[in-house]
């Protein structure tokens, strides 16, 4: 029996605004526990929420990038439950009137482009952090109240790969819109997924299993693939799939039962009485969209036009800092492709070896551009430029010109006429070598090449010299 997997993703994105969603406490600058708290964030009695404008602007931009219908009035609700990480005993969220509805994102699969529907996007606030020890838990409220954006997809994905690509597409949007760092391993992008399978052709959905605790994009694919296998095996052996919550265990590559799903919790949602509806003017919404930083897809299109391959473009775009670096340098070189090559090969190699990020290596884009120009217009070979680059990276106080000097690098003469000049000079000066060569002594050629190199102070391409010498020797 063949099964079809039906997958939906729920993604929570931590916004990197300067202050929190409903309070003015700083958002995410400190690593010292309990140093970024306003009274509201700890649920002190008498505190009141006030909405962060930038958080709304970011949510509008993301909703727009996802082609969603945007609600021009903000309504908030309370989601009531007790948990150790929830200081007020309720979370302020947007249950009934999410800021965005009915959107989609396009992912590239092996079968071509695919549209994944998105049900809703809404704003809410984060809970505090819990650190678990053997027999106690410690609470850090720095994170409590940080703005979150929740994006809920329709169950329209059918494989782990599709889900991973969907999540990456979401990541690209939230990162490039300036909304979030979008790092799963740091928790600024969190992904829960619902997976069910059904016999192909069946209309009813199978039993849904929730998977949590996925901490990388690759693991989304692995977790879902494993889960599909697990459920298939169960059904094939006549066992039912139970509705439950499982977590992904990276080491074993398996999903493991966390808890059986009990009846859906009743959150007793009701309208938040401390937040009157906020009317967003058309101008405000349009401005938020208009001023959105250029997104991933638009940049990629530009890079492709500049001659980059799709893969190269995506490598550069995988890190917004590198993309910004690339764009700044790109305005100063002849060909984007040349600059891209240096970034992808030499720079990335250096970053990997040194463990640094591109903004930590002390190399301005204009300086790298200078080096690229040495290749494009200065007559140096790629290798020569790479050597200069390596020297400058080692010693950032050197300019490329100084590094070139220090390495005794010289632009190669490529003009055939000029080379012939040296060739003829060498031949005139060494008539015996011509005789030797004609007598079959191959070493004579090498000697003559060496003489040409000496005459030209090594400024000529040895292979080219050899070729021209041979031609000339044939004539004589």
């Amino acid at each position: 029996m063949n099964f079809e997997a039906v997958i939906g993703l729920e993604i929570h994105v931590e916004q990197k605004t300067r202050s929190k969603m409903f309070s003015s406490a700083p958002d995410g600058f400190s690593h010292e526990p309990n140093t970024e708290i306003a009274p509201l964030d700890m649920g002190y009695p008498g505190t009141l929420p006030v909405i962060n404008k930038q958080a709304v602007i970011n949510a509008i931009r993301v909703a727009n990038a996802l082609h969603m219908t945007i609600d021009h009035t903000l309504y908030f609700d309370r989601k009531n439950y007790f948990y150790s990480d929830l200081p007020k005993g309720y979370q302020i969220t947007q249950q009934n009137r999410p800021i965005g509805k009915n959107g989609y994102v396009i992912i590239e699969t092996e079968e071509g482009s695919k549209r994944i529907g998105i049900e809703r996007i809404h704003m809410e606030e984060d809970t505090c952090k819990q650190l678990h020890f053997l027999d106690y838990t410690l609470l850090d409220y720095n994170r409590a109240g940080v703005p979150l954006v929740e994006i809920v997809s329709l169950p329209e994905m059918h494989s782990g790969t599709e889900a991973m690509k969907y999540a990456e597409a979401i990541r690209n949007i939230v990162v490039y819109s300036g909304t979030s760092d979008g790092k799963m391993e740091e928790g600024s992008l969190r992904c829960d997924t619902n997976v069910s399978i059904r016999p192909i052709g069946q209309k009813e959905f199978g039993t849904k299993v929730e998977i949590k605790n996925i901490n990388s994009f690759k693991n989304i694919e692995l977790a879902i693939d494993y889960e599909i296998q697990r459920q298939s095996k169960l059904l094939l052996s006549g066992e039912p799939v139970h509705q439950e919550t499982r977590r992904f265990d990276e080491t074993s590559g398996r999903t493991i039962l966390m808890r059986a799903k009990s009846d859906a919790v009743d959150y007793k949602y009701f309208c938040e009485p401390n937040l009157t509806p906020i009317k967003l003017s058309d101008g405000f919404v349009d401005e938020a969209i208009r001023t959105c930083p250029e997104l991933f897809e638009a940049k990629k299109e530009r890079y492709l036009k500049g001659g980059l391959s799709s893969t190269d473009a995506e490598i550069i775009l995988s890190d917004p800092k590198m993309s910004a670096y690339f764009e700044e340098g790109g305005s100063q070189v002849v060909s984007l492709k040349d600059l891209a090559n240096f970034l992808i090969v030499e720079i990335n190699g250096y970053l990997n070896r040194s463990g640094k990020a591109i903004d930590e290596i002390g190399l301005k884009p204009s300086v790298l551009a200078e080096i690229v120009l040495l290749q494009e217009k200065g007559g140096l070979s790629h290798k020569q430029c790479a050597d200069i680059l390596a020297k400058v990276l080692e010693n950032p106080s050197l300019t490329p010109a100084e590094a070139k000097e220090a390495l005794h690098i010289v632009a190669q003469v490529s003009d055939t006429g000029a080379i012939m000049g040296f060739v003829n000079q060498a031949l005139e000066a060494n008539p015996q070598s011509i005789v030797d060569f004609k007598a079959g002594k191959d070493r004579a050629l090498g000697f003559l090449v060496g003489q040409v190199m000496k005459l030209s102070h090594g400024k000529v391409n040895p292979a080219e010299v050899s070729r021209l010498l041979l031609e000339e020797l044939k004539k004589r």
């Binding site: 605004t17 300067r18 202050s19 003015s24 406490a25 700083p26 958002d27 600058f29 010292e32 526990p33 309990n34 140093t35 970024e36 708290i37 306003a38 009274p39 700890m42 006030v50 909405i51 962060n52 404008k53 930038q54 958080a55 709304v56 009035t73 007790f82 150790s84 990480d85 819990q130 650190l131 678990h132 020890f133 053997l134 027999d135 106690y136 838990t137 410690l138 609470l139 850090d140 409220y141 966390m258 309208c271 009485p273 009157t276 509806p277 906020i278 009317k279 967003l280 003017s281 405000f284």
Partner: protein, 93 residues
């Protein structure tokens, strides 16, 4: 009665038996009165009211971080602390 006890426990407290009895009586009265209200003519044509009048605004707070509480202030009232954090028995996920 069990429903009420369950509701109380979900709110993370318990009451004495007499109190549940009193509560039960109060419930009877309240439900009866709400049933009567349900019969008020034209009630369905009204939207549930949270705010007494139209007080919608367009005000949004500028995204500027302000001075937070000092750690001491934030934790001053907590009864159980360790390592600059609030301490609880191990929370089982």
């Amino acid at each position: 009665m069990d429903v009420l006890k369950d509701a109380a426990n979900r709110l993370l407290f318990d009451m004495s038996v007499e109190q549940y009895k009193t509560l039960y009586e109060e419930f009877q009265i309240l439900t009866k009165q709400m049933e009567t209200i349900g019969k008020i003519e034209g009630l369905e044509s009204y939207e549930p009211m949270t705010f007494p009048f139209d007080c919608s605004t367009s005000f949004l707070r500028e995204d500027v971080a302000e001075e937070p509480l000092t750690r001491d202030e934030a934790l001053r009232n907590a009864g159980n602390k360790q390592d600059n954090q609030i301490k609880l028995p191990k929370v089982v996920l």
